[in-house]
């Protein structure tokens, strides 16, 4: 199947192993959530799946592609998108540039394809359309979150991963975010890490629990 498959993955920082023995699959239309206390290794897991951290063991496969040893930008170009914790948008560049840089990623290389993608993202996030030439650092928290998701969408993901997207957002913005994610559900595989359980359960088909570096078996 052409979704994301993670097998026996282990990872951490330097000599410190943060998580191990993680295996799961996400089909191309599924949305799964990962719940767990801080320090359980959820963020480290996503960073390893996307290639920002080297895998200490195991595999990350997207369809037929084995991405385990590839650098992060190769993961992005293959279609694994991460909306990281804290958004991490490029504050000194404009909103437009933040989106345009994704043209480095695979599908966007053709200018026509890029334009189509861009227009669609603008439709999803009209607030961003109004602020295209503003410095990204001057956007509000909610707008930055939109930009981070828009940016991830621009690479035409096959898997979209979000790490605590509601962090630091006011409840009303969180509602808007939930609506956006609902609209995206089913288009591609989605992995969502959240501490906000209600948010998680509303959007996901399945919830995995992670504790102390391992995925717990759950009913």
């Amino acid at each position: 199947m052409s979704g994301l498959r993670v097998e026996g993955l282990a990872g951490g920082y330097g000599p410190l192993r943060v998580f191990a023995g993680v295996s799961f699959e996400v089909g191309p239309e599924n949305t799964i959530g990962i719940l767990g206390p801080n320090g359980a290794g959820k963020t480290t897991l996503l960073k390893t799946v996307v290639g920002l951290l080297p895998a200490m063991a195991g595999q990350v496969r997207l369809g037929d592609l084995d991405l385990t040893r590839e650098p992060a930008y190769a993961h992005a170009r293959a279609g694994i998108a991460l909306v990281p914790e804290g958004r991490q948008i490029l504050a000194t560049l404009t909103v437009r540039d933040n989106l345009a840089l994704t043209r480095a990623a695979g599908p966007g290389r053709d200018p026509a394809v890029f334009k189509t993608q861009f227009d669609e993202v603008m439709r999803l996030f009209p607030r961003l359309a109004e602020r295209l030439d503003q410095q990204a650092g001057s956007l509000s928290g909610g707008e930055q979150q939109m930009l981070a998701i828009a940016r991830a969408l621009m690479i035409r993901p096959r898997v979209l991963m979000l790490d605590e997207p509601t962090q630091g957002l006011a409840p009303v913005i969180i509602r808007g975010l939930a609506d956006t994610l609902s609209a995206l559900k089913g288009r591609f595989a989605i992995i969502l890490i959240e501490q906000n359980r209600a948010f998680l359960e509303r959007l996901t088909d399945q919830v995995l629990v992670m504790r102390n570096g391992r995925i717990e078996p759950r009913a």
Partner: protein, 564 residues
């Protein structure tokens, strides 16, 4: 056994020029090497132990020679000129240090580099005073003969090594290792990092100056080259090749390099390349130098000796009685902090009384870490006040708050190469105990009290991350500070370790400490905290007991719904 070997090695070294074993290793070459080694002790201290990138130390080595030479030329006897020269060099070093040490390390590196540049340039530029490129002649008053000079060199080197070892005894080595490894944690533990680095730089420069002035008088002349950048780098290379951070390193490096150049004949044009290649190879492949390689080889040959278990008293050290304190320990009054446009902390007020555990919970990004940084002194609030034991903490730097405040970090910051006991002792060092024994006893007692006594002798690098956090907690608690700021102490702990954590926190509370913890583990928090503050988006949105918080709809919406 080890001491006997060292004595034999020292005797062999001393006798070597007369044994004729190595071609070219004459008493005069050995004298030069020995004086160089003495000056390198300084570089070893500054760079090898404290990790400071000083790239211009040759200027400090050569300056006393120049000053003494100029004074001697105007009639001062050598006996007065030499100390004057040393003083001048150390003063210059102090000034350079004062200017550059408080800035990020690169400034210090470039600053010392520039200093050597300038020294060499000045030495060349004023031939009438400094002799220009051909150098400055020094007084020939000291008439000692070849053997006499050699003995003087050995004696001063021995004295130098003794001073070096004495300087690093006890708390100093621990302090420097902490500073080298993690300056932020060092500050929070009470170490005045700038002051410490300045001190090391100055003391190191004394060694540089003494070695340099004697060398200059032995050779009889001091030239501009000896003050410049290249000579500084050569000296750095010698220290690295010999073994940075070890007592014998400078001697090994200096002797080896001096001999190599003599044995190889007038290297001339190859000199710079050979130095550079040696330096580069050492940095790339053998950063611990020859002494390090020998040590590793020795450890491989000799059977692994179990580190002697450190005896740890079973009861708290006498004198550290339960300090029953009462009232409010920490008062946060309308503290706000904004960074540019971002309001990280917005009008936060809270109190933590003595003998009470207060928890601060909230989603990531709520501003808890920023608040902690303000309480530790790492950040200044944009407005509002922080009072600890009724003293306003405005402008009080972290190392001065450390006596009253113990802080643990989200990711435990221990120094991996030091033992658990040494890591905990780093804080004890800053609390004013009068003897090394007292410091170690306090650290050991704290560990024992927490039931971690059997870990005392283990290297921090060998512990699992759960134990790291418990050790860090023990470290923060040394000296029974009034306030404990704990940042996610339960993260990464297994359930039985969490039990221990609760036990320790309860013990600390009974002894009167005021404890503020940031945590995500709501169950833990509900269990042990008498009062809980909930933060979201920089503001306190709720306060109360566990059940009250759980029932609060604002809290449910913003934060709960997370794990039980």
């Amino acid at each position: 056994m080890k001491t006997a070997l060292l004595i034999i090695a020292a005797a062999l070294y001393a006798a070597s020029p007369y044994l004729g074993v190595l071609p070219g290793w004459t008493p005069s070459v050995a004298t030069v090497a020995t004086f160089i080694a003495l000056s390198l002790i300084g570089m070893n201290l500054i760079f090898g132990v404290a990790g400071m990138l000083a790239f211009g130390q040759a200027a400090i080595v050569a300056l006393p020679g120049y000053v003494a030479g100029m004074l001697e030329a105007s009639g001062m006897p050598a006996a007065a000129a030499i100390p004057a020269g040393i003083l001048a060099a150390v003063a210059a070093a102090r000034i350079v240090g004062e200017i550059f040490i408080r800035l990020p390390g690169t400034y210090f590196a470039i600053g010392t580099l520039g200093f050597a540049f300038v020294m060499e340039g000045v030495a060349r530029a004023f031939p009438s005073t400094t002799g220009g490129a051909s150098g400055l002649m020094l007084s020939r008053e000291i008439v000692l003969g070849e053997l006499g000079w050699y003995v003087l060199a050995l004696a001063t080197l021995a004295a130098g090594i003794a001073c070096y070892v004495w300087f690093l005894r006890g708390s100093m080595l621990r302090t420097l290792r902490q500073v080298r490894h993690d300056e932020l944690a060092a500050e929070v533990l009470g170490i005045d990092v700038v002051r410490t680095k300045l001190r090391v730089f100055t003391v190191g420069s004394v060694f540089s100056a003494v070695g340099g002035v004697f060398l200059a008088h032995y050779v009889g002349v001091v030239v501009p080259d000896s003050a410049g950048v290249i000579r500084s780098l050569e000296q750095l290379a010698m220290v690295i090749i010999g073994g940075a951070g070890s007592a014998a390193g400078p001697l090994v490096g200096a002797a080896l390099v001096q001999w190599l150049f003599v044995a190889a004949g007038e290297a001339g044009r190859f000199e710079v390349l050979v130095y550079g290649a040696g330096f580069l190879l050492a940095v790339l492949f053998a950063p611990e130098g020859i002494v390090g390689l020998v040590r590793r080889g020795w450890a491989g040959l000799a059977p692994a000796r179990k580190a002697a278990p450190i005896s740890v008293p079973a009861t708290p050290v006498p004198g550290v009685a339960a300090v029953r304190r009462s009232g409010i320990c920490l008062k946060v009054e309308s503290v706000a902090k904004n960074f540019g446009g971002l309001q990280a902390v917005d009008n936060v007020s809270l109190e933590v009384p003595f003998g009470v555990i207060v928890a601060l919970i909230g989603p990531n990004g709520a501003g808890k870490t920023t608040l902690y940084n303000i309480l530790s002194g790492i950040e200044e609030p944009s407005s509002g006040r922080v009072l600890i034991e009724d003293s306003d903490m405005a402008s009080v730097p972290p190392h001065r708050r450390a006596r009253h405040v113990g802080r643990s970090f989200q990711v435990a910051r221990l120094v991996p190469q030091m033992s658990v006991l040494e890591n905990v002792a780093v804080r004890a060092d800053q609390l004013g105990f009068t003897s090394e024994a007292a410091r170690l006893a306090a650290a050991g007692a704290q560990l024992a009290w927490f039931g971690l006594g059997e870990l005392a002798g283990r290297r921090a690098a060998e512990l699992g991350s759960g134990y790291h956090k418990l050790v860090e907690l023990a470290r923060a608690a040394v000296g029974e500070p009034a306030l404990l700021l704990l940042d996610e102490p339960a993260v990464g702990l297994a359930p039985e370790e969490i039990e221990r954590l609760c036990h320790f926190l309860t013990l600390l509370r009974e002894r009167g400490a005021a404890i503020l913890i940031v945590e995500h583990n709501v169950a833990l928090v509900a269990r042990i905290a008498e009062r809980i503050f909930v933060m979201n988006q920089g503001r306190i949105i709720a306060a109360g007991t566990g059940p009250e918080i759980m029932a609060d709809p604002k809290v449910r919406e913003a934060y709960l719904g997370a794990l039980e």
